[in-house]
Symmetry: C2
Subunit: 342 residues, 2 copies
């Protein structure tokens, strides 16, 4: 009797579960990419995820092997008029000079302190390297993290007057979430500094520090005056995570070839090629900055103005078409660009 | 009426769930570490996991920050009489010479080909480096993976006559699984080659390639004769993941300080110090090889014979006691060493 009642309740549970399942909107009814217009870019994403996650399909990929890599500057967030990390370095100069007053009269620090934008735009690559070394190295990793965190909480971008971490592209945020919901591990693979991006990657993109691959300097393990172990950031480049450095960095840090990769400039070409060259279903996409009204328009492809920040050459654009990469037009493919848009 | 029946079924479901929960053995009744004898080592592990995972406890750590790092050789699997990767390199020499016959008369290859163990034991560090370079570099990462995979499928260790991947310590396998079940991300942090360990880490330890940090050479991105992108392994050391290189490698590859770290030799000292120096509950443990009958006994600590493979100095052993690291005695703490024991 008791057993019968148990079975009967169990059967009713099953029926209830079925009712609830029918009552809920089916998966296909919920658009996982609401900020994307229908078109080849959105279609390409949906088809790729379907191909790699459908059990029994010849293109099915086990969950552990689902790796997707994203460039950051110009792919996940705004990179114009200047990379955010370069803004950080320039704005840190007064604090660096305060700690070392002898630098006030030394170039390139003198020019940066002057605030003369025209003179600053003429700084050489060697000048810039000196500024990066002074602001990104020579302190413990803990102190660096604290400095970046504080700057991000206070700094505002000049156009939208918002924290830089709000200038991420809403369609790409949806893409990150959609891929993760389908068992993909999402990585940032950036030419920017690994330690810099790791400070905000989790809060901003839901990507934990260990899934950020970037240009990386060495650290030196030592003991502070209290005998406590510290890691000091050194001005020694271990990994230049641009161009060929992106697949090399992916191998070093992840050890698997991605199934999907997303970029926007020539620095991403090798990552996209390397991804595309693997067997089975692959997705390689290129974000095109062609929306001057909502964001920026640059790059010689499509006859847009040339730029040194996020260069997309005619050659890479031709390569994209030849290899079947999908170009994402910000203007045509994105219903909205930022989460803060009305 | 229909609604009432719905609610009534729903209530019965809840009751059934409660019954099933009561019927199942409670969590505390299942020993997550059955191959560990009761004692301070096992107790230390259980208390640490309890402290870091109990909601509301002052020592609670959010799941995303639960990182545990494990040395491999001598901590997760057997390292005597010689590191498995060195065995691999020596056994690959005939294949390397077959491809480049001119090496047959060149040292140190000539000595390795002779099979004279006594002469091989006298090879210098420079000789060994030449052998490592010839067997670990100069090929694509894909080809290297295939070669290691094939060797692991065929090679047997000389004492137990089993594949090397069966020589993992069952208590440590249980510890890895227990930590993962409690939301920890488990990493291997090895002085051995990152690319080598990544070939078998997932199948052997449940640790995916991207959670293996090891000594790492550079790779070079290029195109093969068909124009396909390949990564070629270069004889250039990027990361020597030993001693201070361990915390440096952890910062480079993970970007967070571990909560728990496990090692067995002087090469692990800095990783254990770095882990221990963080705030809150920390676990730093040292595996002591003191069981000649079931495994090996070595290391000057406890008056065991000295060794060059997995050195544990009297100094480090003293450090362990001073810093409150827990020493795991293989003899006294482990009920069994290997899964294949009867």
């Amino acid at each position: 009797m008791r057993r019968n009642r148990f079975l009967s309740t169990f059967a009713q549970c099953l029926a209830l579960t079925a009712m609830l399942a029918v009552g809920a909107p089916s998966y296909a009814e919920i658009d996982p990419l609401p900020s994307w217009h229908d078109g080849p870019a959105k279609q390409g994403i949906l088809e790729f995820v379907n191909a790699t996650t459908t059990q029994g399909a010849p293109t099915f990929v086990p969950q552990a092997e689902r790796i997707a890599t994203f460039d950051q500057d110009g792919t996940l967030w705004v990179e114009h008029p200047m990379y955010t990390q370069v803004m950080y370095c320039l704005e840190r100069v007064p604090a660096v000079v305060k700690a070392k007053p002898e630098l006030a009269e030394v170039e390139p620090f003198k020019t940066v302190l002057s605030g003369n934008r025209e003179a600053m735009a003429k700084l050489s690559m060697k000048d810039l390297e000196a500024i990066l070394a002074a602001t990104l190295t020579g302190m413990s990793v803990d102190r660096f993290q604290a400095e970046v965190k504080q700057w991000l909480a206070e700094a505002k971008d000049p156009r939208w007057h918002r924290p830089f971490t709000e200038l991420t592209y809403q369609p790409m945020q949806e893409l990150l979430a959609y891929l993760r919901a389908n068992g993909f591990k999402t990585y940032i693979v950036t030419g920017g500094g690994q330690d810099f991006v790791r400070v905000y990657s989790e809060a901003t993109y839901g990507i934990p520090p260990e899934q950020v691959v970037g240009s990386a300097g060495g650290t030196h393990y030592e003991y502070d005056k209290d005998g406590k172990p510290v890691l000091i950031k050194e001005p020694k480049l271990l990994l230049n995570d641009n161009n060929a450095g992106k697949p090399e960095g992916i191998h070093l840090m992840i050890g698997r070839r991605p199934l999907a990769a997303f970029g926007n400039s020539t620095g991403d070409q090798q990552m996209l090629e390397y991804t595309q060259a693997g067997a089975g279903a692959r997705l390689a996409m290129l974000v095109l900055h062609d929306d001057a009204a909502r964001e920026y328009a640059y790059g010689p492809a499509h006859g847009l103005p040339e730029t040194k920040v996020g260069t997309l050459t005619e050659k890479l654009y031709g390569e994209a078409r030849k290899q079947g990469w999908t170009v994402i037009s910000m203007k045509n493919d994105w219903a909205r660009v930022f989460a803060f848009e009305p």
